[in-house]
């Protein structure tokens, strides 16, 4: 169909001015939309890393809680909590059945449970849970005899289980019954008799952070969280340090990665 009589303005499309106006409006709208999306993405990332870190901490704490709530409390049973510079190690006897494959040992009524954070140069930090059946007549090096000078019980690699790859600091403090009440101490008691609870403080790093940070850098990062000091809350100190470097940044590390590091603390009361 042909309309020779159609008016010119309907046939000429738009003028350059109209096009420019349209494009300008579109650009303004897109820029605004982009800014909103950008800030939304950042805040989603932040909340995501917060919730993944929350989950890591909760999972670990719940696992430790299950073992601690079954702890064998007797004054003739030594507990082995090892305060060290850097990450602490703990080992104690629990009332749960333990199984040992090595030698002639099978099932036992009590088991020795340990938690330790080990540094693996290739992977980074690994939180390991050890568990094996325990017999009170075991060789002195292995048994929990009432001698604080004995070495930390040896737990064979077979009895170690990887709990988490996302924990870079593990610090333990002890609630100990004193004459005037309970005090929070950095050094453990020899037996579980006077122990009222443990306070465990963790630094977590979610998977996104782990991918971005090399194991070597991880070590220097962990050093920013100092050992527990008496009469000072470890979580307060650590959170303060964490917030400080998350704000100012660390050379060589992207700033948003620092957001995936978080500190947690939980108190475990021994029943």
């Amino acid at each position: 169909m042909n309309h020779p009589s159609a008016n010119r303005s309907r046939q000429r499309g738009f003028t350059l001015i109209e096009l420019i106006v349209t494009m300008a409006i579109l650009t303004i709208i897109l820029t605004m939309a982009l800014q909103v999306t950008e800030s939304a993405r950042n805040s989603i990332k932040l909340t995501e890393s917060k919730s993944s870190n929350d989950a890591i901490a909760r999972k670990t704490f719940d696992r430790i809680n299950r073992d601690l709530s079954q702890m064998l409390v007797r004054k003739d049973v030594r507990i082995e909590f090892k305060p060290k510079s850097g990450n602490d190690e703990i080992a104690f006897l629990t009332q749960s059945k333990g199984f040992t494959a090595s030698g002639d040992i099978g099932e036992r009524g009590v088991s020795l449970v340990s938690y330790s954070l080990q540094h693996d140069p290739a992977v980074g930090e690994k939180l390991l849970r050890g568990s094996r059946g325990h017999l009170f007549t075991d060789t002195p090096g292995d048994a929990l005899k009432l001698d604080a000078d004995l070495p930390f019980p040896v737990i064979a690699p077979d009895n170690l289980q990887l709990l988490s790859n996302n924990i870079i600091r593990f610090e333990v403090e002890y609630l100990i019954q004193a004459n005037t009440g309970v005090t929070l101490e950095v050094n453990p008691p020899v037996t579980s008799e006077k122990l009222r609870g443990l306070v465990i403080t963790l630094v977590t790093l979610d998977d996104r952070g782990r991918r971005a940070i090399k194991p070597g850098t991880l070590e220097s990062l962990a050093a920013r969280f100092p050992d527990a000091v008496i009469a000072k809350n470890t979580l307060t100190t650590w959170s303060f340090n964490r917030d400080a470097f998350a704000k100012s940044g660390i050379p060589g590390l992207p700033k948003d990665v620092l957001q995936s590091i978080r500190c947690y603390q939980r108190t475990f009361l021994i029943p």
Binding site: I25, N233, L235
Partner: protein, 157 residues
């Protein structure tokens, strides 16, 4: 200028400014709807995260009070609360920061925890009753909070 016959009139006429603006309007509307959905998802995540923080902190307060009461301490270790004597009530009122700590210097906070630890009168001994309620945002007036979780617990002194 003569328009060639091979071009149909509809493709030759182009859009008017009005048409373009209408199209743009629809586009903006669609974008706005999409943007409107996004905060909803984020709000869900935020709520979960707040609930988690509130619950963890209330559990910590509960354990702190339980320890102080059973060990007959005058002040609890972490939160500095005084366990109630028979027939009295210890109030709890904290503003909690993003990392689970109590705000002392007016820093920005996530939630507020209000509650009581009630001790039964000496004439009718029984367990201590703890009631804690966490609400957020922390500065919201009563009844205008965005969310809340509660913790109820009892323990023998």
């Amino acid at each position: 200028m003569k328009i060639p016959h091979s071009i149909s009139p509809s493709s030759a006429s182009g859009f008017t400014l009005v048409e373009v603006i209408v199209a743009l309007g629809i586009f903006v509307f669609a974008v706005t709807v999409l943007m409107g959905v996004m905060p909803f998802g984020m709000k869900q995540v935020q709520t979960t995260s707040n609930e988690n923080l509130a619950m963890t902190t209330m559990e910590a307060i509960r354990d702190d009070l339980a320890l102080a009461s059973t060990a007959k301490m005058t002040k609890s270790l972490r939160y500095g609360l005084t366990p109630p004597t028979a027939g009295t009530t210890t109030p709890v009122n904290f503003k909690i920061k993003d990392n689970g700590e109590v705000s002392t210097a007016g820093e920005s906070t996530v939630c507020r925890i209000i509650g009581t630890l009630r001790s039964p009168p000496a004439a009718a001994p029984g367990p201590l009753q703890l009631h804690l309620r966490a609400t957020w945002p922390s500065n919201a007036p009563a009844g205008r909070e965005a969310g809340a979780v509660e913790l109820v617990s009892a323990f023998q002194p």
